[in-house]
């Protein structure tokens, strides 16, 4: 795509941010492909390796390689994460690796909003919104859950979390995260 077109790409909230007892930032756009295929389909490992450079993630896990990652979403669905501009090329690679095999790969980068929640108490922000036990949530675990009234998924990322939700509710989720991170509402 030309630079002129790239300039038209906007994240849902224009990189909104909120500083509370944890920092909330809308990040992105981020390249995301939903890959649906059964775990035993020949070529799946090759497809994921070719696109994001990771092995096939185990149940409820996310495998990371630099700015790329592969997450387990369901028994026949994977979330592939990569720089925004790479999805078209990635679809070609997936199609090649899974040629002749039943699968579905679609770009969903724009269907979603992406947030980073940062800080020592980032888990508290999410604990107010999602029925997730952060004490037992693994370092490489990907949780598909809800944030208050909408679907969300998140995983640990450095000193915080990455969270994805649907684009249309980006403003709602930003509101939730800001409310939950309000100074003075720490849980400890």
């Amino acid at each position: 795509m030309s630079d002129a077109v790239n300039a038209r790409i906007v994240s849902p909230l224009g990189q909104a941010a909120f500083d509370g007892f944890a920092k909330v930032r809308e990040v992105g756009p981020l390249g995301m492909i939903s890959l649906r295929a059964k775990a035993d389909v020949p070529g799946l490992a090759e497809a994921i390796m070719a696109v994001v450079g990771t092995p096939v993630p185990a149940v409820r896990q996310i495998e990371t390689a630099g700015e790329r990652a592969a997450g387990w979403m369901s028994p026949d669905e994977y979330l592939l994460i990569m720089p925004y501009g790479e999805t078209d090329a990635a679809l070609v690679k997936i199609a090649a690796a899974l040629k002749g095999q039943h699968h579905l790969a679609v770009t969903l980068s724009d269907a979603r909003a992406v947030f980073r929640i940062e800080g020592a108490r980032a888990d508290q922000v999410l604990a107010k919104l999602s029925p997730v036990d952060f004490a037992t949530m693994g370092a490489t675990e990907l949780r598909r859950t809800r944030a208050a009234q909408v679907a969300a998924a998140f995983w640990r990322d450095g000193d915080g979390f990455m969270l994805v939700c649907f684009r249309s509710v980006a403003g709602y989720v930003m509101g939730l995260l800001s409310h939950s991170a309000a100074p003075g509402s720490e849980l400890d």
């Binding site: 790409i9 906007v10 579905l104 679609v106 969903l108 649907f166 249309s168 509402s185």
Partner: protein
Amino acid sequence: MSTRLSKGGRLIDRSASQEFSFNGKKLRGLKGDSLAAALLANDQMLLGRSFKYHRPRGIVAAGPEEPNAIVGLGRDGRFEPNQRVTTTELFDGLEAASQNHWPSLEFDVGVINNSLARFLPGGFYYKTFMWPRAAWKHLFEPIIRRSAGLGKAPTARDADRYEHTYSFCDVLILGGGIAGLQAALVAGASGARVMLLEQAAHWGGRAPVDGDVIEGAPADVWINNAVQTLAALENVTMKLRTMGAGVYDHGYVLAEEKVADTTPGDGRPKKRLWRIRAKQIVTATGAIERPLSFAGNDIPGVMLAGSVREYVVNYAVSPGDRTVVVTNNDDAYRTAIALVQAGLSVPCIIDARSTVTGDLPAKARAMGIRVEAGKAIAKVKGGKRVTGVSLCAQAGQGAVLEEISCDAVAMSGGWSPVVHLWSHCGGKLIWDKTHAHFRPDAARPPTGADGLAMVVPVGNANGMMTAADALVCGAKGGAAAAQAAGFSAEAKAAVADAAPEADMEAVWIMPQGAGDALKAKMWLDYQNDVKVSDVQLAAREGYTSVEHTKRYTTLGMATDQGKLSNINGLAVLADALHEEIPQVGTTTFRPPYAPVTLGALAGESRGDIFQPLRKTPMHAWHEKNHAYFEPVGLWRRPYTFPRPGENHEQAVHREVINTRTNLGLLDASTLGKIVVKGPDAGRFLDMLYTGVMSTLPVGKCRYGLMCNEQGFLSDDGVVARIDEDTWLCHTTSGGADRIHAWMEDWLQCEWWDWQVYTANVTEQLAQVAVVGPNARKVLEKLGGMDVSKETLPFMQWADGTLGGFPARVYRISFSGELSYEVAVPASMGLAFWEALHAAGAEFGAMPYGTEALHIMRAEKGFIMIGDETDGTIIPQDLNLGWAISKKKADYLGKRGQERNYLASPDRWKLAGFETLDGSVIQDGAYIPSAGKNANGQGNTQGRVTSTYHSPTLKKGIAMGLIKGGLDRIGDVVEFTTITGGTVKAKVVDPVFYDKDGEKNNV
């Protein structure tokens, strides 16, 4: 009078004075006071009026069981009605006001009900308001509504914020008294994740007030050590001011934390609702003292003995200078002893038991306190304040033996374990005769997902009424819970000095042979004014079930939910029915244990984040351009874009005319878009749609209908064949998630062996309908792909770029005009929308909203899911038989549609309607027909489904269902109007505009 003592008070800080107000009067209390203690310290005994008789009400208790002393707290955005002064912590600037009186607390006209009490017996409402029927609506209901409820509902928006928090643990302990602390020590030592919640602001519960000695030292010492030990454990979380409100299935518990009650406006959440999932729950919820039922037991100054002791020991507040103690057990002697030790006078302990021999009575006697065994209070004297009591024999009818002057009465009828949380999720109770109370039945606990016990009761809450027993029970319970959660624990308990107590004696009426006059002054439920006489009357009138008696008399139905009245009430009922108490049973214990504020339950869900609002990529543009929005599912879609000086109707008509003559742009991003791919995708879609999708050539579009299994029309939309094994299904805006779930349901549960994958790509794409005679011109001006009639004919699609935007262009029309729907990545949606407006300016481009869309589709006779359908309509009703394949062996809904009722030729079918006078048929109008049905209602033969003023045709147009359908064309029928008349309309073809499709065929 009640006052502050010069010495003592384990919870107060005498160096920190705090100012507060009651009914506008400035008063001073001390840091650490409860509001109740501070009020008593200021001799403010009268705090409110009862609900029915408006009798004076003062503080009775010291905890959440308080029925009387409820006030309105704060003002404006921070006003809270019905707050118990006993559980409210004092803070500087607190404002409290009494409730349920007019014009003033001291002089209340409602008290007239009091003198009419004999005309207001139990069940009064049921008996009085039955007849005449009309009087209910115009007379009784308004009066009852005006007098109903104690507190006033707040009128200002809540100025505070609230939130929820999820939490998980192995062992959740509810209650931080000595039994709860002991359980936490044992469970904490096992390594289990422990959460310990205490509703009050202090650990240790009643033990220090009762003077318990643990490990050879006053209870306070052991409590402080326990708290320090627990605080040092990383696996233990402790929360004060957090009340376990409810226990639910699978170890789910709700608890309410008071975060900023005493610091209003500091920005923190006022309350926090904890949503906890625990493997095991320990209820260490203590016990509540019972009142005794003697005449005048509701007069301010009559209090629970344990509470009197608590005020003296914890807050150095004496409820009176001369306090008579009346009891049926040894525990109340502790109150007498504490009062005398504080330098106050106890003129007499009136003990209903005929022989009094225990250690505590001996100690009281040794201190010189007069003990009257086998005696009772015949009557309390006083109006707004106790002035004395009349002594009588418990065994008699109340003949007065002696008058004793006093200004307070401390009563104790025994203690009832707080079994509420044990009972919420199905725990059963047994009757303990020794203590005359119900306690948890260990053999019938609430069970979890594994069928095993998930709640362990300990301490007083389990009927273990001494400190020594409570600690042993706490240790055992803590160990049992930890073990059940998978840890190994040792039930090692601290040792408390034994303080033997003689047996109590169940006393439900005092004196035993009291006559009607006395019984009519014996209060059971203080807040709702239910007396012994009311329950006995209910029994005489045939209310033998405790649940019925509760509702008939309103016993236990006030804001305190019968915490004091429940056991006494059902004991009186049992006596009246000549049954044993366990046979009568208890009413049902339901969450919450004590009232939880609605703000905490709402949590973050208010204001901007009350509900998720779905916004398209162009939403901000719509807002900037003054769109008037309407809800479509959770989306907000522009209904119209009014210009200055236009009303909505004018704006909609302008948008329709402009679209039909120039160029209209519609944000269609909300339209559902689902990709369906796989070797079996064609076969799958043939089952889902009534038509055939498998034969659709690549590059083409086809309109399709989906039905549910019953045959009723569920959704519609255009399907595009993308490649050999990929289709893209458009759904309605509100139906995208539902239809996607419907597809997955069939694929995962029924046709699991079919090779089909779906993906909901609705939000990946921004979609714009470019509509009108100039539609092609604007796309050609943007340039990049051939959108000519030849290359991109009607019902085809093509990929390409438009003005540099990657685009998929569908040549489809929901308006009858030349129309393209263009999908671009959502992140470019706004830029594309703006580019269309810029390029389209010279062609008269205007945005249009959903109402213009509706009118234009109605002018073309296109149906709308939700208007023409309502869940009872099959496609055949809408003359859509052409979209149903006759060749297919099956599709979802086929069998349903073959049922004789749905296949009947008598079904109402779609037709168009035009009024003879050009007016618009009213929404919801019916077409009456002759005669009446079996219910005496007028017969009908049809109804309107869509009705608009057509700005194109300059008259009213409508679609509707009518018996006979299109066969009725030419008939004139009548539609009802809201005012009762009818309007004549002609049955016509539902395609009002451009029937031959010439506008689109360019």
